[in-house]
Amino acid sequence: MTDTTANGGPVLTTQDGTPLKVSLARALRREKMRSLVLIAPLLIFILVSFLLPIADMLFRSVENRIVADTLPKTVAALSAWNASSGELPDENVYAALHDDLLIAVDEKSHTRLGSRLNYELSGMSSLFRKTGRRVDRMDEGNYKEQFIKVDKDWGKVETWLFLKRYSPKYTPGYFLNAVDAEYGIEGIKMKPEDERIYLYLFWRTMFLSMVITGSCLLLGYPIAFLLANLPLRYSNLLMILVLLPFWTSLLVRTSAWKVLLQQQGVINDTLVWLGLVSNTDRIVMINNQTGTIIAMTHILLPFMILPLYSVMRTISPSYMRAARSLGATDWTAFWRVYFPQTIPGIGAGAILVFILSIGYYITPELVGGTDGIFISNRIAYHISSSLNWGLAAALGVILLSLVLLLFYVYDKIVGIDNVKLG
C-alpha cells in the first residue's frame, strides 16, 4: 500500500483516531528510548571513565596556556615586539616581566613555567629559578639592565623569541617534537641527525609488531588446528597447556625468558654442553630485538590461538571429506577448502595480537635492550620520568591514529565483517 497522505487520499488511523504513521513512530521512539535507558549506565560509565579521560589526555598535546597564564602582561607587551628585527625587546617588556614574575614567585608558578619552557630550550629551567630568587630585590626602573645582570640569557634575542613563540594558548610544538622536528630560530625544520628518535621508533614498533603477529600466526595455526581436531580428552589437555601460561603473570613469564635466553642461561648452557657452541662465544638472544620477538610471541600466542580455535571448531569435517572424495589431494583440500574458512579467525587473531603488541611496554623494557624497545617505552618515560605530558600525549595521538588507520586499511582489504571470535 502506498502512502495515501501525500496524494490526498484517506489517512489510515488507529482505533483512537491518531494517524497510523504517528502512532507507529511514537511506538518506535518509545522502544528506542527504552533500549537507550537500558544501556545508559554502561554508556555513561564508558564516557566518564574511558572516553573523557582519553580526550583530556590527548588535548594536552596542543594545550599551552601556561605561558599566557603565568606571564600575562609580558605576553601582551611582547606582541608589539618584532622578533625578526634581531634587537632585544624594549624596557616596557622587561617591566612587564618584573610585574608578572613578582606575582608568579608569590604563587610559585615561575618554576613550573621554567620546566615547561625547558622542553624547548635547555637552560630555561634554571633561568626562571634564578630570576625568581632575585626579582623581589630589584630596584624600580631600568629593569632591562637589572634582568641582564641577573642572567645574561635575558639579554639574548633567542630567549625572547622562544617566549614569544610559545605564548599562544595552543602550540604545535609537542607534535613537531614527536615527529623529530623543531620550531627553531629559522622556523620549522627536522632535528639534527643525532637527535632523531621518534619516527624510527614508530617504524620499529610497527615492524616488530608485524613480525610478532606473523610468528604468532605461524606457531598458533597448527596448535589451533590440533585443538579443534584431536579427540576431546587430548584436546582438553592441550587446551590447559595453552591456557596455563595465559593465566600466569606477565612478569613471571618475561623473567622466565630471561633465565632461558641469557648468555649464561639454560639454552646457551645446553648448547655449550652439546658442543654446538663454544663457551667463549655464546649466542646473544636477549636484550635485543630477538629477545623482544621471542618473549612477546610467547606472551601473545593465546590471543591468536583462541580465536583461531573457536572458528576452526565450527568448520564441519564433511567439507574436507567431500573435497577429498571429489579427487582433491590433502594439500588442495586444505588450501582451497579448509584454509579460506579459517580466514575470519586469522583476521580476529591478527588484529588482537597486533593491537596488543603495538602498545606493549613492560616486556620490551625488560628484554628489549636498546634495539628492541617500542614507542610506548618512550611514552611511559615522558609520563612518569620527564613529566613532559604534552609530548607523551602527542606521541599517543600519533600512535592511536596509526592504529585507526591500519584498522581502516584492514577493513578495506579483509573486511571487518569477516572477523569472527567464534
Binding site: N118, Y119, I197, G265, N287, S386, L387
Partner: protein, 366 residues
C-alpha cells in the same frame, strides 16, 4: 538483652572503636630492603609510641612524580608523606607539588643543640626536601674473572678498558652519571666535566667514549638488575646503588667487590605533598620530627648501607642488625671509600636532562 540490642550494641562499640583507631597515615617509599629498613628504624618505634596511628606503606616512589601531579590535578591527595630522590624532589618543588619546609621549626635539633638546617648542611638541596640518606651509584665487579689474569680494576676507567678487563658491563639506561664517567676517562678534569658537557662537542666526545664499549654493555633501568646480572655472571662489572651491592656481597656472599672510585653521591629523603588538610599535616609533621632526628637516622644504617644525612648521626652508626658487622666501612661516605667522589649536579641536570636524554636515547637506538 535480646539478640537485636546485642547486635546494635556491638556495632556501636565497633564503630566507636573504629573511629578512635582509624588514623591512617600513608607513607610512600621504594619497597624491598629500603622500605624494610624504614619500617624497622622509623615506623615500628613510632607506632609503639602512638598506638592510635596506623602507618600504611605504599611502594610507589618509582612513579611518585607522575602520580603526585595526577593527584594534584584531580584535587585528591591520598598520600601523606613521600620518599623520593633529590632530583625528583626538586622537580616536585618546581611544579609546586611539594610543600616548602621550615627546617629549624619542623625538625629536631642535633643532641648538642645544633639547629637542623646546620646539621643537614649542604645536603639541603631544595626548599621542599628533607634529606634522609646519602647513597651512591658505583661499580661492583666479579673477583673471579679468569680472563683478567689476576688483575683487578683500580679506578673508574677500568670500565672503558676492554683490553685489560674484557667482558660485558652493565650501565644505567640514561645519560646521568654515564656521561660524566665517560668524559673523566677521556681525559677531562673533574671540575671541568659540566663545562665540557654543556657544549655540543663535549656531548659527542662523551658519546664517542661510550661508543668504544657500546656493544659490550647491558643497559639497566631497575636497580636490582646489576646485582642479578653479576650473580648470573652475565656481566663482569656493573653500576648500581651501593646498598644493592652490599647485600649481594655481604648477605648473599657472592664473589663481588666494590669499586668506589668516582662514585656519584645522591640523596634520598622526604617531601610533603602540597594541599594536605590541616589535621593530616599535623600528623605528618609530628611523625617527621621523630623520624628525622639524629638517633633515628643512625638507626636506619643498621639495616641498610646508606649513610645518614645528618652530620650528628655519623658517630652513632653501629653494627648491622642481623649480620653483626660494622656498618661504617660500608658507607659511601666513609673516608676510605670517598677518596674520589661526585655529587649529583642537580641544577645542571635539571636544565640539560631533556636535551641530553634525547641525544642519549637517539645514540642508543643507532
Amino acid at each position: 538483652m535480646n539478640l537485636k540490642t546485642l547486635i546494635l550494641a556491638t556495632t556501636a562499640t565497633a564503630m566507636f572503636a573504629g573511629a578512635a583507631v582509624a588514623k591512617d597515615m600513608t607513607i610512600v617509599s621504594w619497597g624491598g630492603a629500603y622500605s624494610a629498613s624504614q619500617n624497622n628504624a622509623y615506623h615500628k618505634p613510632y607506632m609503639e609510641q602512638h598506638p592510635d596511628i596506623n602507618i600504611i606503606n605504599d611502594e610507589s616512589s618509582n612513579e611518585a612524580v607522575a602520580k603526585l601531579r595526577a593527584m594534584n590535578e584531580a584535587g585528591n591527595i591520598t598520600w601523606d608523606l613521600v620518599d623520593v630522590v633529590a632530583s625528583d624532589a626538586i622537580r616536585l618543588c618546581d611544579e609546586g607539588l611539594a610543600m616548602e619546609i621550615n627546617f629549624d621549626e619542623m625538625l629536631a635539633p642535633a643532641p648538642d643543640g645544633t639547629p637542623a638546617s646546620e646539621d643537614f648542611g649542604d645536603l639541603i638541596v631544595s626548599d621542599c626536601f628533607i634529606p634522609q640518606i646519602v647513597y651512591s651509584t658505583t661499580f661492583g665487579y666479579r673477583s673471579d674473572v679468569a680472563e683478567w689474569n689476576g688483575k683487578e680494576p683500580q679506578d673508574i676507567c677500568a670500565v672503558f678498558d676492554l683490553e685489560n678487563f674484557p667482558g660485558k658491563r652493565s650501565l644505567e639506561k640514561r645519560p646521568i652519571n654515564n656521561m660524566e664517567w665517560a668524559l673523566l676517562c677521556d681525559g677531562v678534569a673533574k671540575d671541568e666535566v659540566y663545562d665540557v658537557l654543556e657544549t655540543e662537542e663535549g656531548v659527542n666526545r662523551a658519546l664517542a667514549k661510550l661508543d668504544t664499549i657500546k656493544d659490550q654493555v647491558v643497559w639497566w633501568s631497575a636497580g636490582a638488575e646489576t646485582p642479578q646480572l653479576l650473580a648470573d655472571k652475565e656481566v663482569v662489572i656493573g653500576s648500581t646503588y651501593n646498598g644493592r651491592l652490599f647485600s649481594l656481597i655481604e648477605e648473599q656472599k657472592q664473589p663481588v667487590k666494590m669499586l668506589w672510585d668516582a662514585q656519584v653521591f645522591d640523596l634520598d629523603g622526604w617531601i610533603i605533598p602540597t594541599g594536605l588538610p590541616e589535621d593530616r599535616l599535623q600528623m605528618v609533621k609530628d611523625y617527621l620530627y621523630f623520624a628525622t632526628d639524629t638517633q633515628r637516622l643512625a638507626d636506619q644504617a643498621k639495616y641498610i648501607s646508606y649513610g645518614p644525612a645528618r652530620k650528628s648521626s655519623a658517630p652513632l652508626v653501629g653494627k648491622h642488625a642481623t649480620l653483626g658487622i660494622d656498618m661504617a666501612p660500608h658507607m659511601p661516605t666513609d673516608p676510605a671509600n670517598a677518596t674520589n667522589t661526585f655529587l649529583y649536579n642537580y641544577e645542571w641536570w635539571a636544565d640539560y636532562r631533556d636535551d641530553l636524554d634525547a641525544k642519549f636515547q637517539a645514540w642508543l637506538t643507532q
